[in-house]
């Protein structure tokens, strides 16, 4: 069958090339365009904005809890509502904010950083966003209707099982897991294939930016860890809905099976959130120290090592469950050993800062704040790895303090730094540096005021997840301090929101590469055009924009009428194929709606699987069926 070749870009004048590519890759205007787009930048931007909205909601839940806890024996919030609040807080922050926002950055940035025109499987990408959105909206609507889960983000059975959690609250939670995991798994596949096969020619494995490495390892961790919690949550739903017995000790089941499945996912989950953040820190420290990140190979190997080791630690969440002592001790060692690759990363960053010429712009401030807080949290994590110490501080505010140090210090600070850093690329506008520094100062002080005293509360015996505490416990003053700190921290985020809104109201004025950064994403326009690059760059070094100051080498010979991406070989990125990339389509959205109907239906009846399987299949066939006379899917 003869292939219709279409117009090639060879020999086109720059202006015409740009115009024709923008037409081919562009997204139509209006609602239809918005619903059908498969542009990774638009989907990624939506992901980021949605995730930050969920951050706000989770933050509001936290503020409500801090209000209740600011004094002893307060009666502002009933225990029933408090339990829903802390469940929503944890669930939102982990499943609807932290993981998605990291993946959102990957969706937006990875194709730009590896120099391609769209992410691999862009329709799957659009689908994953819709599924994520619907899942997140579902769980919050459920909360608003008093069907909010109330058994914690860990949902331990038997408490979350059919006997002790009547109603549909936990079912909504378990299905929310399915939604978010489906979307996370989809993105993991896209990111891996994009990194493996769509890198610009010449970007061999040792030239991949560190952020991309981090996202690649994260995606593999997602691929292997998320199925564990999906298995668990499916079992939970089956126990609740069909009366099955996975977790019923009287019929041969076991409550700890849930904990094993949950933490086999749950601990890698922490690193799924943390590894992309290390990638962000590497990029920021490199750019603002004005030198290549020290120890590229050390850093890459550390990232991979952390990814592997993260699957060998889950039992340290279960030291108080009475597992065999020797087994527990081995997990002490493995948990402590992950300090080595993490330590190497820290040392490499410090070496980069030491040797470089640091510039203290806002992203850099957040990166430094990251080192200070993350090292602290990591070290208290070494304490938690010790079985005896763990039996004392497990499930107290000491642990709350610890994981907020590693999650906020270790992930949110880098994320905020990354937002300041890449905001000009996303929007064409720079965020205000003055507001940014205020934001950092308030966030850093507020964060430490909130979470440092929690260590003391934990040592003073205050358990987690209590909706109140006795007046004579002596915890009141510290809790008031914590609540005050939390308010300050919250205000810092409002300042950030104001900074973003104010910037978006200005005219776009950011140059393509405002920080003089070396990565390919800065070779694209700010914000990037629909096709990202007029011509696909030819990469000859690890820091292309630093080494090729005269301008990047590029390749030609791709179609301008059809969406084509350059597929390259895995290791050395030698050009291999010109694959077609899908156009805009409505089917991902319709599939996501069908999926949503199926998932929500199963909360109420097992037959929903049967009812909705048929429309699901039909929709998927419609999705994949070739639409054009010219085969271009």
């Amino acid at each position: 069958m003869p292939d219709i070749e279409g117009q090639l870009d060879t020999g086109l004048a720059p202006d015409e090339l740009r115009a024709r590519l923008a037409l081919t890759w562009g997204t139509a205007g209006g609602i239809w365009g918005a619903l059908t787009t498969v542009d990774h930048k638009i989907v990624g931007r939506r992901y980021i904005v949605t995730a930050f909205i969920f951050l706000g909601l989770g933050g509001l839940a936290a503020m409500a809890m801090r209000l209740q806890l600011s004094r002893p024996e307060a009666n502002l919030i009933s225990p029933d509502l408090y339990d829903q609040l802390f469940t929503m807080h944890g669930t939102t922050m982990m499943f609807l904010f932290a993981v998605p926002v990291m993946e959102a950055f990957a969706v937006y940035l990875v194709p730009l950083m590896v120099g391609t025109r769209n992410i691999a499987f862009p329709r799957l990408n659009a689908f994953s966003y819709w599924v994520y959105l619907f899942g997140g909206v579902m769980i919050w609507v459920a909360f608003a209707l008093n069907i909010g889960a109330d058994t914690g983000w860990f949902a331990y059975v038997p408490l979350s099982g059919p006997e002790f959690s009547p109603g549909k609250r936990v079912d909504f939670w378990a299905q929310m897991i399915t939604f978010t995991e489906v979307s996370a798994l989809a993105i993991a596949v896209e990111v891996i294939v994009t990194v493996f096969k769509q890198r610009a020619p010449g970007m061999s494995l040792d030239r991949i930016p560190l952020f991309v490495w981090a996202q690649l390892v994260t995606s593999f961790a997602v691929l292997l860890a998320m199925p564990a919690v999906m298995t668990g949550s499916t079992m939970l739903i089956l126990d609740r809905l069909l009366g099955m017995h996975f977790f019923n000790p009287a019929e041969g089941g076991d409550a700890l099976l849930w904990q094993h499945l949950f933490w086999f996912f749950g601990h890698p989950e922490v690193y799924i959130i943390f590894l992309p953040a290390t990638g962000m820190v590497s990029e920021i420290i490199m750019v603002f120290s004005r030198r290549p990140a020290f120890g590229y190979l050390y850093l890459v190997l550390s990232i991979i090592a952390v990814g592997f080791l993260s699957f060998g630690l889950w039992v340290h969440h279960m030291f108080a469950t009475g597992l065999p002592q020797l087994g527990s001790a081995l997990f002490t060692a493995s948990s402590a050993l992950i300090a080595v690759p993490n330590g190497i990363q820290i040392f490499c960053w410090v070496a980069t800062l030491w040797d470089g010429r640091p510039r203290f712009a806002t992203p850099m401030l957040f990166a430094i704040g990251f080192i200070v807080t993350f090292v602290f949290g990591g070290l208290s994590g070494v304490m938690l790895a010790s079985v005896p110490i763990n039996t004392q501080v497990h499930d107290t505010y000491f642990v709350v303090a610890h994981f907020h140090y590693v999650l906020i210090g270790g992930s949110v600070f880098p994320l905020l730094g990354a937002t300041y850093y890449w905001f000009p690329k996303f929007s064409g506008r720079l965020l205000s540096e003055r507001l940014g520094q205020w934001h950092f100062a308030l966030a850093f002080i507020g964060f430490n005021l909130t979470f440092f005293p929690m260590h003391l509360l934990g040592l003073g015996g205050m358990p987690r997840r209590v909706y109140t505490y006795p007046a004579n416990s002596g915890w009141g003053d510290i809790n008031l301090l914590v609540s005050g700190g939390a308010l300050l921290f919250f205000v810092s985020f409002m300042l950030f929101g104001w900074n973003v809104i104010a910037a978006l109201r200005r005219e776009p004025d950011a140059p393509d590469n405002p920080w003089d950064a070396p990565g390919l994403e800065w070779a694209a326009a700010s914000p990037p055009r629909p096709h990202n690059f007029d011509r696909i760059p030819l990469v000859a070094s690890r820091h292309p924009l630093w080494s090729d100051r005269g301008g990047l080498l590029t390749v030609s010979g791709l179609s301008v009428d059809t969406r084509e991406v350059l597929v390259t070989s895995l290791a050395e990125a030698r050009p291999d194929l010109r694959e077609t990339s899908p156009r805009s389509t409505i089917w991902p959205l319709i599939s996501a709606i069908a999926t949503t109907a199926l998932f929500i239906g199963t909360i109420f009846t097992q037959w929903a699987v049967v009812w909705f399987a048929v429309p699901m299949t039909a929709v998927l066939i419609a999705w994949f069926w070739p639409k054009q006379a010219v085969d271009d899917t």
Binding site: L223, L224, D239, G252, L538, G550, L552, S556, P575, E579
Partner: protein, 203 residues
């Protein structure tokens, strides 16, 4: 940034290929990795519960072997058309691929029927006890793979029978064959666990 002219011309590159050169192949492989992980967790849960309960398989007799054995035979048999389909797809032999796809569809449909009998031969209900829950769970997880593979095969067959046989479609046939291999590879541990483990296991 001023740009020097293009340094290399890509227009001679092909638009599709077979195997690991294609992005879709990698997509299928990663899907398989993910599904293998899920199946591994299900099987791990089975072993966990089996080690916990001294009287495994609790009160139930082990599943009857007939249908499980038939299924194993059928799976191995399906390797033949799958491998041939892969070979002829790489040669872009439309006629032979069409025939082999129809054969694969038929075998997949028979597999679904056998699977129905397998559920009947488990000798335990899903809500009888934890053993029943976990064997049903594993078998359903594997059934979703069979069904997904069957739908995919039907889809590709429909494409080939309606004239959508441009080059890239042959690559889809190859991906489908890879998925057939996976369904077999996933079946062997499941088969051993469900049918043979309760027969040979004594704590």
């Amino acid at each position: 940034m001023s740009e020097p002219g293009p340094a290399a011309d890509m227009s001679a590159l092909p638009k599709y290929a077979f195997g690991s050169r294609m992005t879709t192949w990698w997509g299928s492989i990663l899907l398989i990795v993910m599904e293998s992980a899920a199946l591994a967790y299900a099987c791990g849960s089975y072993l966990y519960l089996a080690l916990l309960n001294p009287d495994w398989p609790l009160s139930a007799p082990p599943p009857d072997l007939l249908w499980g054995n038939l299924m194993t035979v059928l799976m191995f048999a399906s390797l033949v058309p799958a491998t041939m389909a892969k070979k002829y797809a790489q040669r872009e032999d439309k006629r032979k691929v069409q025939i082999l796809l129809v054969v694969l569809c038929t075998m997949g449909t028979i597999a679904c029927v056998i699977r129905g009998f397998e559920f009947g031969a488990l000798n335990v209900r899903w809500d009888t006890n934890a053993y029943g829950s976990v064997v049903w769970f594993i078998l359903v997880v594997h059934t979703t793979h069979i069904v997904a593979d069957l739908i995919d095969t039907f889809f590709v067959t429909a494409l080939f029978l309606t004239g959508h046989t441009s080059g890239k479609r042959f690559s889809a046939v190859e991906d489908d064959a890879v998925f057939v291999y996976f369904v077999l590879a996933a079946w062997l541990p499941v088969y051993g666990l469900i049918y043979w483990f309760p027969r040979v296991w004594s704590p």
